[in-house]
Symmetry: C3
Subunit: 351 residues, 3 copies
């Protein structure tokens, strides 16, 4: 079996969420590391969002200590200036320029409240493959809460955590997990580039969180419907509806009186020991209540902090004792599927 901290997840030819749009400004560049590469992110005064290698081509000083100017960014060590394309625009006291002076440019897409960068071959960067969050981001019927975690763990361990229902009653007994969840079957099926995982809890008490925001008068039908996108973006629909009202009927039964959430979690490897974790959690109720935005944020972060503590401890244990071999159990089906898809891709049999 391959290592739990599997570098099959570290795909270069992929879009990664690297920042929130508001983090890119024309006032001050942002330094962020993805797949071990240091990026500088900024917005030109003209409004263009840009990602470049965070090393001046002259003597490798960080451009993130530089100054954003009209048309580009200037290194504040010796004043060399670069365009959003990475091409050199100016070398002080050297009007003829320099033929090879440029920094690496990363394709970037700003869409639906995310900044995505492409870390691999720029020729393969297809903006159509960016995850589509428009059904929630562009709709007046959904309201987001957002959060970021910097996790000291390999991306693959966080992916495992998200792909797995088995940990819910043990890691989250008092937050999003509930002991009786284990009694319901999980449907797992492979997609072309990912996995679909569905679980329905029929005729159960609402979870503490759903009860507190949904005020149900009786038992509910609740659901977790995941879609995993390789290498590491999760799109999750969840909710609770009064039991017996047919929420499970497909494509969609009545969801009268239901509360629904849509969640996107984007895992972006900083390096083999750290991961950027961006999440958005949209709700379809209490749209005009800012306090609800905070309530949702607080509840999600409480659960994620429980995951983070466990995953970081697991990561450290693996790093100290890599010789110990893990063993899969039946509950690992979804994450095993994703891992085998990534392994095939790493071996070249998947584009």
């Amino acid at each position: 079996m391959k290592s739990l901290a599997s570098n099959d997840f570290l795909i270069r030819d992929a879009w990664y969420v690297v920042a929130w749009p508001h983090e890119l400004t024309a006032d001050r560049p942002l330094a962020r590391t993805v797949l071990g590469e240091d990026l500088v992110l900024f917005r030109t005064p003209e409004g263009q969002a840009v990602a470049l290698e965070d090393r001046c081509a002259h003597r490798l000083a960080p451009l993130s200590r530089g100054r954003i100017e009209s048309g580009g960014i200037r290194c504040l060590y010796h004043g060399v200036k670069f365009a959003p394309s990475g091409q050199c625009l100016e070398i002080p006291a050297q009007p003829q320029g320099h033929p090879n002076m440029c920094v690496r440019h990363y394709p970037l897409v700003e869409r639906d409240g995310f900044i995505h960068v492409w870390m691999g071959d720029p020729g393969k960067a297809d903006a159509e493959r960016v995850i589509d969050a428009s059904p929630w981001a562009s709709s007046p019927h959904w309201k987001p809460s957002r959060g970021y975690l910097h996790v000291k763990a390999h991306v693959s361990l966080i992916a495992d955590n998200l792909l797995d229902f088995g940990h819910l009653p043990f890691v989250h007994p008092n937050t999003v997990g509930a002991a009786q969840q284990a009694d319901f079957a999980t449907e797992v099926r492979p997609l072309a580039e990912g996995v679909q995982t569905d679980r329905w809890y029929i005729d159960v008490p609402a979870s503490a969180f759903h009860q507190s925001v949904g005020h149900f008068k009786g038992r509910v039908d609740a659901w977790h419907c995941f879609r995993w996108h390789l290498p590491a973006i999760m799109s999750l629909n969840s909710g609770s509806a009064p039991t017996g009202t047919g929420a499970r009927e497909k494509p969609h039964g009545s969801r009268e009186g239901a509360i629904e959430f849509h969640h996107i979690a984007a895992l972006t490897p900083q390096d083999e020991d750290h991961t950027h974790y961006f999440w958005v959690h949209w709700r379809n109720f209490a749209l005009d209540e800012p306090a609800m935005t905070d309530t949702v944020h607080r509840n999600i972060m409480a659960a994620f902090s429980e995951d983070q503590a466990m995953v970081e401890a697991q990561h450290a244990a693996i790093r100290r004792g890599a010789q110990t071999v893990p063993k899969a159990i039946m509950a690992d089906r979804a994450l095993s599927l994703v891992r085998s898809q990534l392994a095939r891709r790493a071996q070249g049999s998947v584009a």
Copy 2:
């Protein structure tokens, strides 16, 4: 000459003190690393003290974050449960179990106020070889003070320190050392698996510590009689008696009016740069005075802190400049004996 930070000390087939009995509870597992291996230590609700590898066999999460239950410990990531033997007792949603799911179990002996683990081949673990502290631990005539130090140094450097009388007047001029100690000869003789080292100081003023607790009216005969057990446990008898009363006569002369101590120091390597140091110092006087227990503890820790500062500085100097070759002097006889015994053992000529 072999490195001062000699890994000949890192013997696997040996008993090591890993904890105090009170540290193992049924409430909360204890994580401790020995010879580079992460252990989880706990006590079942039924009272059994247990040492297991601190990595769940499923996905390597630390069991020290788990929950102690009747009959074993449950990993709180996905709920896999293990018996004190390391065998898997339960996998959630997988009633048929898993044939190879188990964690490494370490033989453990709880005796005379110490928890000992065996780090090597379990088939060779012979509880008879555990150091015998019963003459003091089980007797109403001795009262212990106890302490623990976490030392940032290789076990071999601490062993050298304990095996050496030469440092007393330089490291401890104001605590346990005294300049005139250097005038008395040290008798060193090899044992089957260790060294015996004796030093008698006849007709001397009592040391500051012994005078303060023994209230001698005149000069004393004092002694330090060491027995070193491979790889790294020291058993020391020391004391002061009014001079001329025959304390030195063997097996034992009159010790009327004497104060005596027995000390066990157990050095347990955490890894090549850190050592667990457990010590117990029994006295044969003021048995009913709790304040004396504190006084002894304070005096011992004051001296050990002097050693610790020097040994940690020596360790750091060796790690930064390993190419410099040390040179032995005559005062190194006891520690050189122990090192050559360990070297022979490492080469296989001693069982």
Copy 3:
């Protein structure tokens, strides 16, 4: 192109400034690391300044934890004593001594307010090659301000910074740099073992610092005249004079009404990631005003802190992404000259 963090700078057969004279006392030894070697520095009670390897020859305990005694230093682990030559003077309880017991001794010169050590072959240590600061250090017409920085960067990056005028307007726009400096040419010429770099600014406003201490009534002629000594000592003459008074005439025109400074910066590698930076800045005015000594110190440190922040960021960027290749520009001429001299020396074609 060789790495920016070039180890050609790490020459062993060279004099390095290691301390200020007042740092070496007979009370307490000083530990300092140069070129990765740990030194202990002290002054005997007889007044001799001494540099030895900071590891006792016996068991490698740091001599910097030892005790300075008449005629030498005693290790406070086991009491072995060494002379300033590194020879062993005494081993406790071993009156016959030990034939090979000695520690490495480093040639040392105390001159003009600096302690210099020779890190290479002692047979090649020629005190005549120590940098000559006597024209300023021994003259009543110059008054020094002094400072020390511990920089987390490779010595070569700091050398680049000092050898380069190009960064002044970008790193120091509000301190020692000024935008119009870029309009004046820099004269660069190689020396036998270093580089001379001169820049004159004719008929300009005085810099903020020079104006604040020189109180000029009109425009000035100002200058920066560098002399670089391999591997890494800079000697700099700078100043401002009322324009048109002929300050530039050689050897020296009238400097009536001018303020002048002489600066020595001595870069001493601690290891490949840290550098000791000693500087002295002499002035030829306000000699009797202690407040001016502070003013100069504060101004120099303000500018150097700007350099330090950039150079440390550059160092970290290089260490994280060593595969990125830098590209030279015309402004790099002086530093490129020094680097090629060092490269030739490293290849053996220069003594």
